[in-house]
Symmetry: C2
Subunit: 338 residues, 2 copies
Amino acid sequence: MTNAPYSGIRVIVYGVGAMGLIATRLLLDKGAEIVGAIGRSPSKVGRDLGDIAGLDRFLGVPVENDLEAVLSRGADIAVVCVSSYLSTMHKHFAACLEHGINVVTIEEETVFPWTTAADQAQSLDALAKANKVTLAASGAQDVFWLNLVTTLLGASHRIVRLSGQCRWNVDDYGPEVAGHLLIGRSKEDFDKYVASSGWPEFVARQTLEALIARIGLEVASITSNVSAVTSEEPIHCQSLGTDIATGFVIGTVDRTFITTREGPRFEFAMEGRVYRAGEADNNLWQVKGEPDLELRCDDANYRFTTCSTLINRIPDVIAAPPGLRSLDMLAPASYRHH
Amino acid sequence: MTNAPYSGIRVIVYGVGAMGLIATRLLLDKGAEIVGAIGRSPSKVGRDLGDIAGLDRFLGVPVENDLEAVLSRGADIAVVCVSSYLSTMHKHFAACLEHGINVVTIEEETVFPWTTAADQAQSLDALAKANKVTLAASGAQDVFWLNLVTTLLGASHRIVRLSGQCRWNVDDYGPEVAGHLLIGRSKEDFDKYVASSGWPEFVARQTLEALIARIGLEVASITSNVSAVTSEEPIHCQSLGTDIATGFVIGTVDRTFITTREGPRFEFAMEGRVYRAGEADNNLWQVKGEPDLELRCDDANYRFTTCSTLINRIPDVIAAPPGLRSLDMLAPASYRHH
């Protein structure tokens, strides 16, 4: 294996927020050629990608906000770290695919978009096939909530119930995520918001659906709910830059419950919360069945592993058959030594 | 997915010890057709497989010791649970392959036999190819020490060192395994035996080599050692039916250290020991690198998961290209719902 396993792969960094900038460094470590960078923030457009990524060198790659200009120069793949939900991201993915550029993204719905965003998923699948390129999502969920679990199930004779629990730190992400989770609001505000606006399912449901599709079972019913986690003592929220008083929202727990026609039941509780000092990301999956099984990762470092898994996926996505490949359709991500 | 996923698969149960009998029940659960059973013990030959497996029904499958008679009736695959090491098992595998019957086995060296039993591995590979069938090994190591770990590494940007630790219960297996580990002997006897006879590497080394091959690195050096674990208090050994006094051997720790040309280092400590009440099989893998990662399975139930993984592997082995397929060459085992 070469010291530069991505040598000769031409990449566009699409989105230069926190995740896109970590991805930039990992791409360079593996020897990829970064041929363009797309951003919107006036504080970043025009600056060199190496500069804003905090590298010790300039890359000769300016951040541009002219999408068409960057994409029309061509690339093997775009690493897209912009926002969540296909309703928001459809146009960004479509632009890449129309230019014959593969896409790997941390956009969570793309993990398994067939039920929550069926029309958008089908139109992107058709567009990717027409242009002979592939769109796929990855991130920490790819390894920790999907492939580790399906691999564990290779030792299961019979699943009765599979239960997953995980926790991630709101402060590892930007103010957008904190706002989305209604961090800092009162419990009453939170409940009122959910009652009136609903709560779009976010990553946990899609990953569980991908898992069930991968093991060849058929979904009978899906239910989900969300509840607020409130603070027991005042806590500082770094991503909002404010203190949150006792009793106010510091996180949420999303719970997804899926039954299958074949019998096995699945549930996944995903907690996103502002951490106290010393807390770490966790991941626990338990199988009730024959035999009972358990898998635990005590410090899954989701912020970093979202980027590292995304970058490890690049050769798979380039090699995959054209179309939108949801994560049930891809073999586990591989380590790529550099 | 059907309720009988192995419907139409004709299987020979080759070896009717503890593991072969668990495998028998799992095969029937999944709808396989058992077309023959091979055994040697005079207490079993001639009896019905359902009877000796403790099932509530006869299967119309007598245990036979006439290998040629059973194999010449044909089958899709033989599930071989007889003994360890290719030097012992070569003739058993060869007999199946010569009859055009695929083989899946718990024989540990076959996990990655290319360096410890190269000649035997190559001759079996050629024989399998000539007969257009496949030979592969599985067992708990397939899931817990290989595929869970390579899947975790899909989230690793850079490995500096990978360390594994596991523990299994000598009393889960027969007196042969306890004898092989010199259980009940004095520490002096143990050390004298190892100094004069050596200690053939057993499963831990082969699994680690398969792992390194899978992630595309090249072995630079392999070293291994073994040490005795002695009892701190008297303990009963079920598999030998004796009590072991304080200070005598109740287990061994096999340690394998592998360096690679690319830099990352690998080590694996496998402990086989007579358990005290309340102890359970464990499995812990830690990555030092970017980032540090950890994976733990607190009750891996190796005795049962060796059989369940073996049986889950059957469709993979039948579908694989002909030859000896070491475990680095196969995708992770899948759950097979019934």
